[in-house]
């Protein structure tokens, strides 16, 4: 069994490494369609990354080595996290999910603190804003997905009690919101927010560092979607090889939905977003926990 897993999972990891780049191309095409444009070809993100890797590097920042290190570790932990999510989707062992969450926390934190390493005021302002939002959102993401995983494990849907279903629905909602926010799309794309005040990290980097940063962002987008899809499919369908296939099939649909939401919304104000989100999360999580406790005692 273990041997088989290694054989199936290795090509999957390679697939995971490519998927986000292609789906980003799809997202750009969709965005263009919603804006009445022709837009770039689906393969444009690949061209962009290749171009960035191939151009001559202009090393302006003295801390560039640390930036490389933090971005690379972000990508490596991200891929490792994807490995454990897949294991979870196959076997339904919640320990795998907790590993995945822990690794994803490292991915996010290394990616988020990168702008802070760059000695530039704009990058720093953008970075601090990302960190504030990240702290709020990551807490909610980990809490809600942990709860979600625990519930999905118990196959709660078979119970006929409506209170349980409400609790699960609330947790799922929290998890989906948190995963949307973590995907750094409008209204929460704070690194790029307020282009005239702080263009953040994207202005500071060029060449392969920029490519790594973009790639790391796209990989995170993939992980956050799989993090909510895996327990959802597990809950509704069950954990198996077909379950994993369903997860992978649902992935493009989820990606497109997130992209559509991003197009029809504007950017929220950077100092308001974390506070509002914190309030919503606390309310949702508290309500669902209370519902669960009430049910347990009743």
């Amino acid at each position: 069994m273990e041997q088989l897993l290694v054989y199936t999972l290795t090509p999957l990891i390679v697939l995971y490494a490519i998927i986000p780049v292609i789906l980003d191309g799809v997202e750009r095409k969709l965005k263009a369609a919603l804006q009445s444009r022709i837009g770039p070809p689906v393969t444009q993100t690949i061209y962009d990354l290749l171009k960035l890797v191939l151009v001559k590097e202009i090393k302006t920042q003295p801390t560039i080595l640390y930036v490389y290190l933090s971005l690379t570790s972000s990508i490596v932990t991200g891929l490792a996290s994807l490995y454990y999510i897949t294991l979870y989707a196959l076997r339904g062992d919640q320990v795998d999910m907790f590993y995945a969450l822990a690794l994803f926390a490292i991915t996010t934190s290394t990616h988020t603190v990168t702008p802070l390493i760059v000695p530039n005021p704009y990058s720093f302002i953008g970075g601090i804003r990302e960190v504030v939002l990240g702290v709020v959102n990551e807490a909610a993401l980990i809490t809600s997905i942990s709860l979600y995983t625990i519930m999905a494990q118990r196959s709660v849907l078979k119970s006929t009690q409506w209170v349980t279903i409400i609790a699960v629905a609330l947790v799922a909602l929290t998890a989906f919101i948190a995963s949307y926010v973590a995907s750094s799309r409008v209204p929460f794309d704070i690194a790029e927010a307020e282009p005239e005040v702080a263009s953040g990290i994207f202005v500071e980097f060029s060449g392969s560092v920029l490519a790594l940063n973009i790639y790391s962002l796209l990989l995170r987008r993939l992980i956050v979607k799989l993090l909510v899809l895996a327990p959802t499919v597990g809950l509704l369908y069950g954990f198996s090889l077909t379950g994993l296939l369903v997860v992978l099939l649902l992935l493009p649909a989820t990606w497109v939905t997130y992209a559509t939401v991003a197009v029809i919304l504007g950017r929220s104000r950077v100092d308001v977003a974390p506070l509002t989100l914190a309030k919503i999360y606390i309310a949702l999580i508290l309500i669902s926990i209370t519902v669960l406790l009430v049910q347990a005692y009743a």
């Binding site: 263009a32 369609a33 919603l34 804006q35 009445s36 444009r37 022709i38 559509t260 197009v263 029809i264 919304l265």
Partner: protein, 173 residues
């Protein structure tokens, strides 16, 4: 929250895609569009009316002993077509051409070279040969002055006037 923002999808759907694959597709310009100008060297007489009217100095007259050159530098041109309005012989034609990028600086210049006549009296370089012919055609009265430069004309006039004055004053005395 209202559902109104979602109407964007309907609007985008009904409008389709409005951008074009320029430069692989015809550019969207109307017949009214004003682009680069074309000077017909066969018609131009080198009078310099266009040079006087040109707001950004895109048209210039460069003068040497033997030649007068009308130089059009498209890099400065603002495509106002004032030169077309003022040209007495309709030598300038407007085109719809606006794709003017080039990797050779000299492509941006158009030169019309005119030969010059010399003044019959002082021998200094004077108007262009074509200009002289044009004036002769337009107004036969000026024929006898046509080949004399303005300086000499002024001198001739002054001499004539003073000769008459002198004549008058002699008469008085």
């Amino acid at each position: 929250m209202s559902h109104k923002p979602l109407k964007l999808i309907i609007i985008a759907g009904s409008k389709g895609r409005v951008t074009v694959k320029y430069p692989y597709q015809e550019p969207l310009i109307t017949p009214e569009f004003r682009g680069e100008i074309e000077i017909d060297p066969a018609k131009c007489i080198g009078c310099g009316a266009c040079v006087k009217a040109c707001p950004p100095n895109a048209l210039e007259l460069l003068e040497s002993e033997k030649e007068v050159i009308l130089r059009y530098f498209v890099g400065r041109c603002i495509f106002c077509w004032r030169c077309i309005d003022v040209c007495p012989v309709n030598a300038i034609k407007g085109t719809r051409n606006f794709e003017l990028a080039t990797d050779k600086h000299t492509d941006l210049y158009t030169l019309v070279v005119h030969t010059r006549t010399t003044c019959e009296i002082c021998g200094k370089p004077f108007e262009t040969t074509r200009m002289q012919r044009y004036i002769a055609e337009k107004s036969p009265v000026t024929e006898e002055y046509a080949s004399i430069c303005p300086d000499c004309r002024k001198r001739l006039l002054a001499e004539a006037v003073s000769a008459r004055r002198v004549g008058i004053s002699e008469h008085k005395e």
